[in-house]
């Protein structure tokens, strides 16, 4: 099962490292990363494989959100199908 993790917020040292560290702790494999600075905002999109995740999807979503709030970032995780459905025919 594939999901998209999106991270948006003010740039600072160690964002990628902390998000990736957290995902790897849960057994989640990162398949692709794109990262850019949009209007001074750090914007990272990751395609991840969650089939070997050690925690439930909904718990993971919550943990990521909490981690985002703590660091002043907006972090979402959603199944990849929703983006494919909306943007690809």
């Amino acid at each position: 099962m594939r999901a998209i993790v999106s991270v948006v917020g003010k740039d600072r040292v160690g964002i990628i490292s902390s998000v990736c560290g957290m995902l790897s702790d849960k057994g989640i494999n990162i398949l692709d990363i794109s990262q850019t600075i949009l209007q001074e905002y750090f914007t990272m999109i990751m395609l991840v494989d969650i089939s070997k995740s050690s925690v439930q999807f909904s718990d993971l979503v919550k943990e990521l959100e909490q981690m985002g709030t703590a660091q002043g970032l907006d972090i979402h995780m959603q199944r990849a199908e929703i983006f494919e459905a909306m943007h690809r025919i």
């Binding site: 999807f57 909904s58 979503v61 979402h76 990849a80 459905a85 909306m86 943007h87």
Partner: protein, 452 residues
């Protein structure tokens, strides 16, 4: 991989433009729950709903969390109770509404629709018993919704039923006077009612439907409005194109959620309803879209044309995005549930007469309109007759959900809370329609009903 811009666009639609799935509605047939003893009938109904819908809310919440898309309501529609209770010996069918209410609470849905009767051509014994039970049933329950179909293009309009509906609405208001006539907000009178509507209060599980089915209603007025912000001054062809593209995206998401829910629940997928359904939240308004097209206030001249274009473009965009489209599929214009409509009604620009014209070009009808508490039953019936005539002649669904708010008059406001919102009391014509309604009988089906 999907590019960053597209991903951020989707996230923004959800977090800032109120994109959501308005409802996942499970249709359940209760045709096997008939029993002469009403208590036994109630038990069968309760057990069956609890069994079939046991995982509905949980599944909805799981999908919500995994896809990151809010699913605002999880609901149930059932076979019109007049049919299920036809063989009950009891005269009062309110106990069945109580059983539906209990079942709805048990499985955790926020509304259950189908305390309904289809009487466009006449009444059976069960239909009459059900209609007589409606006011008490709606006053005694919280989650039960009721509807009566009084006309179709094929059958004409049952004017005896129309007269009865005026009185039923008055009674509903009286019994729930302390909550502003709340029972009326859960009661819809239809012409050309559809069998697979997922939206409340008019949802019921039609007789042509399977044992159990999942229907989904999408939403997204805020997303369409946002898309139109960059279209200022552009010709209508371009506006229509933009709406179509937006509607396509919204509907694709609805289709995905519908398929997912259907797979997880092991219940066949029915339809996606392509309606733009507003909520009272600021920025989630159909009125705002019409105003974004260049109208100073919704209700002014040009509103009907703007709505016609919007409604058509939404359907054209949505139709390719879903494998099966059904339900009502059109823009909703419920006054109390749309901040822009409320503002326009308070200003006096949006009147009942203009709303009636608007219902000729969109679904569904005069929806969530509050009128003075002393409005006579005949006048309510005449308003219903007008809407039913529009539906009958134009081969479309029309409906009336009107609240004669007890003790209130023009200038007052009635608050229902939550998704039902609050409604300013709108004036009705004071000239009588009593003699017209007293005639009773049947308005014959129009000539274009003879298609065979």
């Amino acid at each position: 991989m999907i590019n960053t811009g597209e991903i951020l666009q989707t996230i923004e639609m959800i977090s800032q433009q109120h994109l959501d799935v308005r409802t996942i509605t499970m249709g359940i047939s209760l045709r096997d729950c008939a029993h002469p003893d009403i208590k036994a009938c109630c038990d069968k109904i309760y057990d069956k709903i609890c069994r079939y819908a046991e995982n509905l809310v949980k599944t909805g919440e799981d999908i919500e969390s995994e896809f990151g898309i809010p699913i605002v309501n999880k609901r149930i529609s059932v076979t019109p109770i007049a049919i299920v209770a036809e063989s009950c010996e009891a005269e009062d069918l309110a106990p069945i509404a109580l059983a539906l209410d209990r079942a709805a609470r048990n499985v955790g849905v926020n509304f259950i629709g189908g305390f309904s009767a289809l009487v466009h051509k006449g009444f059976t014994k069960g239909d009459l018993k059900l209609i007589n039970s409606i006011p008490e049933a709606l006053a005694a329950t919280e989650k039960v919704c009721s509807s009566v179909n009084v006309g179709t293009t094929k059958a004409g309009i049952n004017m005896d039923a129309v007269a009865m509906m005026g009185r039923t609405i008055k009674k509903c208001a009286e019994l729930t006077a302390d909550s502003g006539g709340m029972a009326c907000a859960k009661f819809v009178v239809f012409a050309n009612a559809v069998e697979d509507n997922p939206f409340m209060a008019g949802a019921f599980h039609g007789v042509g439907e399977p044992e159990c089915v999942i229907n989904v209603g999408v939403s997204g007025p805020g997303v369409v409005n946002h898309a139109l912000q960059s279209m200022k001054g552009k010709p209508f062809d371009e506006v229509a194109e933009t709406i179509k593209k937006t509607a396509f995206r919204i509907t694709r998401m609805g289709q995905l959620v519908a398929q997912e829910a259907s797979n997880r629940l092991g219940v066949p997928f029915g339809i996606v309803d392509l309606s733009l359904a507003p909520t009272p939240a600021i920025g989630d308004s159909v009125a705002d879209i019409l105003e974004a097209m260049g109208l100073e206030t919704v209700g002014t001249h040009g509103t009907t044309a703007a709505l016609a274009m919007l409604n058509d473009a939404v359907k054209k965009g949505g139709i390719m995005a879903s494998s099966r489209v059904g339900g009502l599929s059109g823009a909703f214009i419920p006054v109390s549930e749309d901040a822009g409509m409320i503002a326009a009604a308070e200003k006096g620009t949006l009147t009942i007469d203009k709303l009636e014209a608007m219902t000729c070009v969109c679904s569904v009808g005069l929806d969530m309109i509050a009128v003075p508490g002393d409005t006579p039953a005949d006048t309510l019936a005449a308003i219903i007759a007008d809407e039913a005539a529009i539906g009958m002649i134009n081969n479309k669904t029309t409906a009336v959900r009107i609240i004669p708010a007890p003790g209130k008059t023009v200038g007052d406001k009635v608050d229902f809370g939550g998704l039902l919102g609050s409604a300013p009391i709108m004036p009705v014509h004071s000239e009588s329609s009593a003699e017209f309604i007293a005639r009773g009988g049947h308005i014959p089906a129009p000539i274009h009903s003879l298609r065979n």
